[in-house]
């Protein structure tokens, strides 16, 4: 395409260094200005002063390093000191950081001061050479390549060429195959939670995350917030992290006349609603419950759900409501679940069916 375009439109390049200003052209390059001396170039006393300053910086650095070692040895790692305006900080961290900082900074400051005051500051031009090779070299290389290619017979012996390409294309597959055992296949794992163990005949109790005890409906008052997990799960279980990432519940009680969604009311028990605590956006434990508005906000990305309306999304990036777990009471009067969530909890994924 660009060959169609005229390139005469490109502006003229500037000439080379030291070009003599064209007669009468006020914009011509006047050339490198003459070097002007610094104080230290012409005044030996100033130079000596600079030398002393540089050495002083190096000496301060040495002292700071000694201070670093002394702090390391002498200061107890648990010691806390009050330092204005930092507050109560670790004495060791503060001392080590500051001494190390000074030790390093003074080496740098000394070196730079030395360069700025005592080393020559005459600006020198160096020539640039074009990156591109000239035509002769270019022709030569292409010729060499052609010779090499002809000698290999790569173009002529097509069977060798094609089988080589085939083998090279296949061999990385071994590497890909090896990745298979990185993890299991998804299967139904994301579709179900630990609550699937619960049945009508063998319900699972809801265990309060604070007390680790089962709960009765009258324990949960309007305006309160409680978190729960299935019975049988302990914080010390081997798979606790994995289980709680899906099983965590958020229990709220809303005055029955305030519940706008009938289906949600039915899944609950006397106004007690058990929602998944895991946000349907990307899985943060959503639990910023505003008891007056019945809104639950996610602290990570601000998806807002109306818990009085079946956890409908009213703001933010979440795509669907929080799943609700059906709860009831068992013969002892404890809150129980009789089955799993009716839909997968947590963030949505390709295989998720509504």
């Amino acid at each position: 395409m660009s060959h169609d375009m005229s390139e005469e439109k490109l502006p003229e390049s500037h000439g080379s260094a030291g070009e003599v200003a064209a007669h009468g052209d006020p914009f011509a390059d006047p050339g490198l200005p003459a070097h002007e001396p610094r104080r230290t170039d012409i005044d030996e006393r100033a130079a000596q002063r600079a030398e002393r300053q540089v050495s002083l910086m190096f000496v301060i650095s040495m002292l700071a390093t000694i201070g670093f070692i002394a702090s390391y040895v002498a200061i107890d790692p648990d010691k806390i000191v009050y330092i204005f305006p930092l507050g109560k900080v670790s004495a060791l961290n503060f001392a080590l950081g500051l001494t190390l900082g000074v030790a390093l900074f003074m080496i740098g400051a000394g070196a730079v001061h030395w360069a700025r005051t005592l080393m020559s500051d005459v600006e020198l031009p160096a020539e640039r050479h074009p990156i591109e090779a000239d035509d002769e070299v270019r022709a030569d290389v292409i010729e060499q390549f052609k010779t090499g290619a002809a000698e290999s017979g790569f173009g002529r012996r097509k069977m060798i060429r094609n089988t080589l390409i085939g083998s090279m294309a296949l061999v990385p597959l071994s590497g890909v195959v090896l990745l298979r055992d990185l993890g299991p296949l998804p299967e139904k794992k994301l579709q179900e939670t630990g609550w699937k163990e619960a049945t009508e005949t063998k319900p699972l109790q809801l265990v309060n995350m604070s007390t680790m005890q089962p709960m009765k409906p009258e324990d949960i008052i309007v305006g309160s917030l409680t978190f729960a997990m299935p019975e049988g799960l302990s914080t010390h279980s081997e798979d606790f992290q994995q289980r709680i990432a899906k099983d965590a519940l958020m229990l709220v009680r809303i005055a029955p006349e305030d519940i706008k969604d009938d289906k949600s009311k039915e899944l609950g028990f006397e106004g007690i609603l058990a929602y998944s605590k895991i946000c349907t956006h990307v899985g943060c434990p959503i639990s910023l419950y505003e008891q007056q508005t019945h809104h639950a906000l996610c602290p990570c990305h601000q998806s807002t759900f109306d818990l009085a309306d079946g956890a409908r999304v009213i703001f933010g990036p979440a795509g669907h409501p929080l799943p609700q777990l059906k709860i009831t009471t068992d013969e002892k009067g404890n809150l129980v679940a009789t089955g799993d969530f009716k839909e997968p909890v947590g963030p949505s994924f390709w295989e998720r069916a509504r």
Binding site: R39, D43, L86, N93, D121, Q292
Partner: protein, 269 residues
Amino acid sequence: MKKLSARRRHPLAALVVLLLALAATGGLYAAFAPADKAQADVAAQSLAIDEGKKLFAVGCSSCHGLNGQGSSDGPSLVGVGSASVDFQVGTGRMPAQQPGAQVPRKKNIYTQAEIDQLAAFVASLGPGPVTPKEEQYTSTNPDDISKGGELFRTNCAQCHNFAGQGGALTKGKYAPSLEGVDAKHIYEAMQTGPQNMPSFPDTTMPEEQKKQIVAFVRHTTSDEPNPGGLTLGSLGPVTEGLFGWIFGLGTLIAVAIWVAAHTTKAKKS
């Protein structure tokens, strides 16, 4: 008292009234609470109740009604309990002052004795959460701090932040910072669920656990040192990023300017 009645005639009084209505809605829900423990010795406090009633008539009745029955401007206080009064008045939230997304904490204008009288009066209207005694919120067991920390991260950190610095809620509402809040008031907030905060009643979070949470909050917001240096507000990576840009990269660029600058010439050109 004079000051109070003067305030009632203040031009802003109408606003205050409006705000009280919005703010105290929280108390309304607490009214649903089945109150079984609040039957304190009401009779013995009849004197306090009488005094409280007078205070109430002056400072609160314009919104909440002379008998705390509530009005269009303020919710009923029947059954909110003495703990609610102690929290709302003790933290200066009540009487409310200006309109806004939520009633902020401000300077308290009552003495503790007056608050107790007000609380006694409101408690007499109906059973509700009782103001905790000192031993209920004062922990003596050092293990309580770490236990409280775990409970705090489960129940509180989502709104109040890991270090109790508070955080944003919807539409301009916020969870306030817990820094400098009295242990008693932290305890009462959990009991009563003021404004939009949910409550954590003794039935789902026993006294002992509230005490542990209070121990953790007090430790984190006041006693806890910051071993690494400036906390930058304990607000996470946002303030760290700002600090890194301004004081980290900013200083480094300033240093770079010094390194690259031409040294002053002996005489000006």
